[in-house]
């Protein structure tokens, strides 16, 4: 075993050493995506089933590209095209998938705890591609990889996460991971979107965004969903963007080398203005590029043969 865990469900499954192994492996895999022929035989004969029971573009495509670049056979299941639409329950669907002997099941589900439930019911490795409000560990790992690339270090950096922390699995995984790797994580946003007890995961809270910005090395925005205004968590997207959105003026007091990140999909003009999203400080597309490398690394580390050389 190259990692201490069989499944990637929560950042808590990974030791610090595991995280460093993932980052190192991802760096070495990144080059494959730059080749003229972007494919290696590392996972030839292995089967990966991508179960996306909740809508996803970026993560689904990223996993599939990662799998194909490693020559794994891939199958995709979505809620609309599957028997779950005919009333089959999740566990039954997954036990049937398991009966076809996949090596890894990648699962995205709107229900927190779904990957945990499945990992207890089947023998294949399970990778959590986002479950409800719980976690999105592969996103946090690609965010970490991006931070390390840009900053050249991890320990001691201060990272702000701003937005709908309450409904963000990306925020939860990042708090756990960045904290594990020695960074200071500070959360900000309207109080309605900061869940009770979130500090216990390893973060502090600063409700005054303008106070916070000058202290940050990295500013990570998380998505604001339009529906949340209907729940009266804030009055309107207009008001949100005015008080909590990031624009060039607001970044006036920021450190020169502040890095701007966003897991996507971006609501341009809500969490941040287009000029910031597309500006020099933004690494939003680098995050997406690194996503493929991180997922290749995880697939390889979970099911790659021991003797197989990285990148061969």
């Amino acid at each position: 075993m190259k990692l201490s865990t069989r499944h990637i469900i929560s950042i808590n499954d990974l030791t610090k050493k595991d995280v460093l192994t993932v980052l190192q492996t991802a760096e070495s895999f990144k080059e494959i995506s730059e080749r003229r022929i972007k494919k290696v035989p590392t996972l030839r004969g292995k089967t990966v089933v991508n179960c996306f029971f909740e809508d996803s573009t970026r993560t689904r495509v990223s996993f599939e590209i990662a799998e194909k670049r490693l020559s794994a056979d891939t199958v995709n299941i979505s809620k609309s095209g599957s028997a779950m639409n005919k009333g089959e329950n999740l566990l039954d669907t997954m036990k049937n998938v398991e009966a076809m002997k996949p090596d890894i099941v990648v699962i995205r589900h709107s229900m927190s705890g779904a990957p945990q439930l499945i990992s207890e019911a089947i023998d294949s490795h399970v990778i959590n591609a986002g479950d409800g409000l719980h976690e999105h560990p592969t996103q946090a790992l690609l965010d970490l990889m991006t931070i390390q690339e840009v900053k050249g270090k991890m320990h001691g950096l201060t990272v702000g996460i701003v937005g709908d922390i309450l409904h963000s699995r990306v925020a939860r995984s990042n708090i756990l991971l960045l904290n594990k790797m020695g960074m200071n994580v500070v959360l900000s946003g309207p109080k309605t979107l900061i869940p009770v007890g979130i500090e216990n995961l390893g973060a502090t809270i600063c409700y005054d965004l303008d106070d916070l910005i000058p202290k940050l090395d990295v500013l990570m925005l998380v998505r604001i969903q339009r529906e949340r205004a209907d729940d009266n968590l804030f009055p309107s997207l207009r008001e949100y963007s005015r008080h909590f959105g990031i624009n060039t003026k607001r970044l006036g007091a920021a450190k020169k080398d502040l890095t701007i990140m966003h897991p996507g999909p971006v609501n341009r003009g809500v969490e941040l203005t287009p000029d910031v999203a597309d500006g020099e400080r933004s690494v939003i597309l680098e995050q997406v590029t690194n996503g493929v490398a991180v997922r290749m690394a995880l697939l390889y580390l979970l099911i790659g043969d021991e003797h197989e050389e990285v990148g061969q």
Partner: protein
């Protein structure tokens, strides 16, 4: 009916303030004599209760028998068998069946069915509102005549304060109490577990304590205003305990119950997302649990009630968020309550009291006492015998317990209803 001679046991009967070694003679279903004499009456069946405790049969103020309508989860026969196995001789069944027990016809059906195939006493609770919809009063007077013991929309709160007020006033003219399922649905939102550190970490939507506390406050105020008796079901929060304590000091007619699971588990049991820890009200914090235990020890809480809520695996294998709320409790209540006794949190006498005399007092149930002349509903249990919770052996049709595999102390040896042995281990 054969005469029973129960010898060598330790009788604990809080109704008579008794805790002593004494033998019981039961004739024609009635406690005929308490005696020091070791000689059994002629023709009597003898039960040797040496080393065991003899107590009035336990009374569960809160369970769900699922009949009529959801017999695949439980029915009156299986539910009363589970009750007998747990030492209960009288159980109150809630109205959220299908059809709802909101008319005398449904009440009649339950009473008739319980007479035919129930092995313990079943006292139906009627619905406060038609169809549990919280809109219009159900046939409360008719149901009172048919034999309901109290009324409750348990499972659902009555969000409309004026309706709750009128329910209390109207029911009290039939000497019926209202049982409050205290929950503000707007504050609850889509919550599935207690809102706190654990819900945040697990990414599960929270049910804050104020969901319960705000409705307890409203209902206590209404009880004070109307003078009606209010019973609060499944109290789960420290704040709720405090309000009941204060209300009692003010002589407002309020009583309350607590479940075995809220006395023994906290929200940290939800780590791992087991749907058998999903229950409403949710498992709360360690502070809440401690407050519930102290309130039980000091006498603020009137009853331990199971809120036995059977669900089939079909409703419980859907993942935490999508699974139904509910835990079964009839067959685990005694060893869980005894855990508090063995941990020196409450006395054995207190435990027996809240399972028997005290809980009967809540609704004036003519049981819970083994004074001579009373109905011989009896449980004999050994408080020190080790048990391992094994749901595959339950008499209940359902298996939704979070206590599977728990090693506890306390075993029911005999359950006797009206002088007849209905369970023997």
């Amino acid at each position: 009916m054969k005469t029973l001679f129960i010898k060598n046991g330790r009788l604990i009967d809080s109704s008579a303030n008794v805790d002593t070694k004494i033998n019981l003679i039961v004739k024609n279903g009635i406690v005929a004599e308490l005696t020091e004499s070791k000689s059994a009456p002629d023709d009597a069946d003898v039960i040797d209760a040496k080393g065991a405790i003899v107590s009035p049969g336990f009374v569960d103020l809160h369970c769900h028998l699922r009949e009529p309508g959801e017999e695949y989860k439980e029915d009156i026969e299986s539910g009363t068998r589970a009750a007998a196995a747990g030492g209960f001789t009288t159980i109150l069944c809630m109205a959220n069946t299908n059809p709802v027990n909101d008319t005398a016809a449904v009440t009649d059906y339950i009473i008739k069915k319980a007479g035919e195939c129930g092995i313990v006493n079943v006292l139906p609770v009627g619905a406060v509102t038609r169809g549990l919809k919280g809109e219009n009063l159900s046939d409360i007077g008719d149901m009172a005549k048919a034999g309901v013991i109290a009324i409750s929309d348990d499972g659902k709160p009555i969000m409309n304060g004026a309706l709750m007020r009128h329910a209390m006033e109207y029911a009290s003219s039939f000497n019926l109490s209202v049982i409050s399922h205290a929950e503000d649905l707007n504050l609850k939102g889509r919550g599935v577990m207690h809102e706190g550190n654990v819900s945040t970490e697990l990414g599960l939507r929270g049910i804050p304590s104020v969901v319960e506390e705000s409705m307890i406050a409203r209902d206590i105020l209404l009880a004070g205003m109307t003078g009606a008796h209010l019973h609060i079901a499944h109290l789960s929060t420290a704040g709720g305990v405090e309000m009941v304590r204060e209300a009692k000091k003010l002589h407002i007619k309020v009583t309350c119950e607590v479940t075995p699971h809220h006395l023994t588990l906290t929200d940290s049991a939800v780590y791992g997302y087991s749907s058998n820890t999903k229950v409403n009200p949710p498992l709360r914090t360690e502070n809440d649990r401690k407050e519930l235990i102290s309130a039980l020890a000091e006498g603020t809480i009137d009853a331990i009630a199971t809120d036995h809520a059977p669900h089939n695996i079909i409703e419980k294998e859907l993942g935490f968020e999508d699974s139904s709320f509910g835990i079964i409790g009839l067959e685990t209540a005694l060893p869980l309550a005894l855990k508090l006794v063995h941990d020196n949190k409450i006395t054995l006498q207190r435990m027996v009291d809240v399972f028997t005399s005290r809980s009967c007092g809540v609704f004036n149930i003519k049981r819970g006492s083994l004074k001579v002349g009373n109905v011989a509903d009896i449980v004999i249990f050994n408080e020190k015998l080790p048990v391992v919770i094994d749901s595959s052996k339950f008499k209940s049709k359902s298996r939704n317990t979070p206590f599977e595999g728990w090693r506890l102390l306390g075993k029911v040896l005999y359950t006797i209803v009206s002088g007849k042995i209905v369970y023997e281990s």
